[in-house]
Chain length 322, copies 3
Amino acid sequence: MTMLSRRNPQLNRNGELIHLLSIEGLPAAVVQQILDTAGTFLSVSEREVKKVPLLRGKSVFNLFFENSTRTRTTFEIAAKRLSADVINLDIARSSTAKGESLLDTIANLSAMHADMFVVRHGESGAPYLIAQHCAPHVHVVNAGDGRHSHPTQGLLDMYTIRHYKKDFRELTVAIVGDIVHSRVARSDINALTTLGVPEIRAVGPKTLVPGDLKEMGVRVCHDMTEGIAGADVIIMLRLQNERMSGAMLPSAGEFFKNYGLTPDKLARAKPDAIVMHPGPINRGVEIDSAVADGKQSVILPQVTFGIAVRMAVMSIIAGNTA
Amino acid sequence: MTMLSRRNPQLNRNGELIHLLSIEGLPAAVVQQILDTAGTFLSVSEREVKKVPLLRGKSVFNLFFENSTRTRTTFEIAAKRLSADVINLDIARSSTAKGESLLDTIANLSAMHADMFVVRHGESGAPYLIAQHCAPHVHVVNAGDGRHSHPTQGLLDMYTIRHYKKDFRELTVAIVGDIVHSRVARSDINALTTLGVPEIRAVGPKTLVPGDLKEMGVRVCHDMTEGIAGADVIIMLRLQNERMSGAMLPSAGEFFKNYGLTPDKLARAKPDAIVMHPGPINRGVEIDSAVADGKQSVILPQVTFGIAVRMAVMSIIAGNTA
Amino acid sequence: MTMLSRRNPQLNRNGELIHLLSIEGLPAAVVQQILDTAGTFLSVSEREVKKVPLLRGKSVFNLFFENSTRTRTTFEIAAKRLSADVINLDIARSSTAKGESLLDTIANLSAMHADMFVVRHGESGAPYLIAQHCAPHVHVVNAGDGRHSHPTQGLLDMYTIRHYKKDFRELTVAIVGDIVHSRVARSDINALTTLGVPEIRAVGPKTLVPGDLKEMGVRVCHDMTEGIAGADVIIMLRLQNERMSGAMLPSAGEFFKNYGLTPDKLARAKPDAIVMHPGPINRGVEIDSAVADGKQSVILPQVTFGIAVRMAVMSIIAGNTA
């Protein structure tokens, strides 16, 4: 990618994390540091007083150019548990609507002594642009950009897998469903590769599995039975009906028949396989309720781990200087 | 109600309050405990530093499936004065719009280690459903569900009456206006009954006073003069124009002529009668400005007491375990 | 103005600031006090922990009857850095939509023990009305009312000028552009006059420069070259396309040709002249990018100073009693 062409903009000269823009290009040691730190924060959320003062007096701006209440909420909770002041900006209704450019908006907010921008944007690369142009004291976290990346989701998925499976280097991981529209899938594939997972499979119809995955070392399976056979981890993706044109997909019913995860299909995976999903789930479309609510589902633990991972990312980057 | 058929879901095995869903079924002792506790919080809001650390580090989620800035604000203030972290979710724009079910949304937020849900919902019973399905560490407060209940409004009304009238067991209370659409009226009638008020009157046109009230021990009056004669307390209700079809009501002008509280009509009540209203008031529709702004009006003290009552409810339920 | 006819409602009997409604009528000593106090807060925003406990436990309500994410954000940050609890009210969607009057809304929020209202309103004079009717313990800050006033913007502009130019009494200040629609221009002219600036110029086409400015001691220039010749300070205004009917202005292109600030035109001012703009800027309409991003531009420092000035205003009025 040209955006990463020169130096990795996420790291300072000492190789320390200063922004989280993408899992692509993150050294394994940095990923491990995030996961280790998240482990220490997991207990904070279980305390009576769920707060640590690591970001006290810091101003964290949630800049959601694309609406996502769920993701915004997870970052808001994570920042507040770190004792930060959180400012939610409903960017869609603000000065950008008056014709101000993205970089002018960012320059203005930086001048207010912002410490961190959590950015969700419909355009791939927007968080990179912001990180390259904002003041040196400001840290940027990508909370999802276009179809490109959703790195905190990728990291919480890694945390979940490590929690249940310990060693990445012996795993078979199947990612199933609408991969072509999924920034989660891209982030997961990058992270799994970085952590040394030997077999990554992308499972779904031809219209939803991009052709360039093979070049990334991913095994492409258009047959679900083959795709999840012997898998340790199954990551189901949300069928993004709202991003899809009708011609790409026959019907939700037909999709469920072929790729929806049912107890029958799950039986082809390892007996102790875990089932993951980034949420929100479409019951009866990509996943059967018996599986979503079943013993092998770790969908809700993913949400819990997600708060700890976001706390870890925020506290690590806030502690490093450009 | 079938929802309350087995055990009262608001109380734990020791009879302590763990959720506030409805005044119906609340023991008088619990109501009195809430009012007593509210009394201690009233002074907090009058201090220089209006905060107590009782909910420090707790995460309170305002889940407003139905928009109500006023009610949301009262809960937000109450929670912040208890030092909680408050997360406002604009649910109408979030995952529910993407087809996620209510219970999946709740399960996800619970997994983020939420401590409390303040729920406003257009459907009667939604807060019950949430309380029955959420994780045991989460407490639910009903901030208004359909036409069913608005328990904190009922409790603040009781606090107001107790503040000015001391003994509930000798009072005549008239509730006037649009009773059929009012969850406030239902909550008030339940609370007044629980606290031993001997005469409760429901006053209004036949189209706005439901027939089943007599079974609840309420005296139904379609004549305003009769309805407020000798009353100690007059609770005026908002004419919910926005919930009404035109056929039910002749006109705002005609309603005011027959049931609007004017100084003339108020003169039929006891000389020291107090006038209440849940707000927002429709001046010249259900209440004359001379009454709303007059000496007998306690409408603004109700608002002040409302913050203290919500602080009391939140701190009590947060202190009890399922 | 009739609103100020009797006593200045911004000051208590001791002449201390209790509300900030307009710069008009503010004694120079009070303006200087605000600027001096802002200077002490500037360093707070540069600390690791950007907080002082001056408003701890106070409830600050942002009442934005007119949407302005940028201005609301600056006040929210300022209040949080003073440790206040901030409640954002999206008034457009609240009870006012149900027909409640402005003063009833204010009375209700006061009854919740609000300490401060930050008010943005489309109608000139609305913050005055609120200040005159709210409870004595409540302080009001005008965050922009109609075409009337935007006093914190005026004050931050004065802070900026003092920071770079020290002595007001020898300056030539040119305000350029859409003056007729600009509450910023009115506030700046009042402040500059109060602080003793000997030459204030209003520069723009006849349709955008109001005739009554001469009575305020302002020199009106319809020629840009004349208007900025020898100026120490140039305040460019935003072309408020959204408030303008087409007939008043030929085109953005023609405006830029005649009044847009380019390096060529800027060369007519003093060599050390500073260029200011309240933002958001329209690049290529009222200001050339080479100027906006150039050495003489202090547009971003204005934003930084704005936070400190708002902290100063809030802390000063909160410390004085009616």
